[in-house]
Point group: C2
Chain length 131, copies 2
Amino acid sequence: MLKELKVKDVMTKGVITVEPKEDVVFAFEKLMKHRVSSLPVMDGEMLVGIVTATDLGHNLILDKYELGTTVDQVMIKDVVCVNPEDDLVTAVRKMNQHGNEEGIINQLVVIEDHQIKGIVSDGDIIRVIGV
Amino acid sequence: MLKELKVKDVMTKGVITVEPKEDVVFAFEKLMKHRVSSLPVMDGEMLVGIVTATDLGHNLILDKYELGTTVDQVMIKDVVCVNPEDDLVTAVRKMNQHGNEEGIINQLVVIEDHQIKGIVSDGDIIRVIGV
């Protein structure tokens, strides 16, 4: 069934993003406010990175960032992306291939023609398996 | 394949928990420090609730809790549990059945003989699908 469904069928559209020069505290507040676990970092129209609630929260709570640290200083630059037309087998494979022993990549950014179209999460996939 | 694998094969053991009378700020810091997305609330040996990073973070950032709010005042009391011997189809079904339009239940507490044995997340399941 995962082979028959496409990323565009399950992704969340209307992605909330953040700018590279925003303060990490602002980014964390944005994550919490919108109840999302990651924010793609957009420099104008261009995807330049991603920040996660887990990373920012961990480092902020343990006081590991200097005052005034901005998103571009701490973001993950190697963003794992999929295409809206990719099937869910491809998405699951990418979540695993780019993860590590700590866990999979829980969210993939959906890109088409260099434009951000959505985000697909592990939860979005479990949701269609459970149908 | 999800039918052949059991919850105990993929769950995380050594669960980090919190006590009912702890302050919500302490609980949130614990979530962030350990990079986990939920904490089962244990009154001694008994599971009495669960708190999530999404809920606590959202309400703390938006200043929705009164000073001194404790975990038991805000925890989800209806904890969704599975047994270590349940297969993963059962786990996926529970994640979906107990979710709502906002999303699935991302983490299930694993209980056997009234004792907490682990936590199984949507990511744990995506990991074995991707193998």
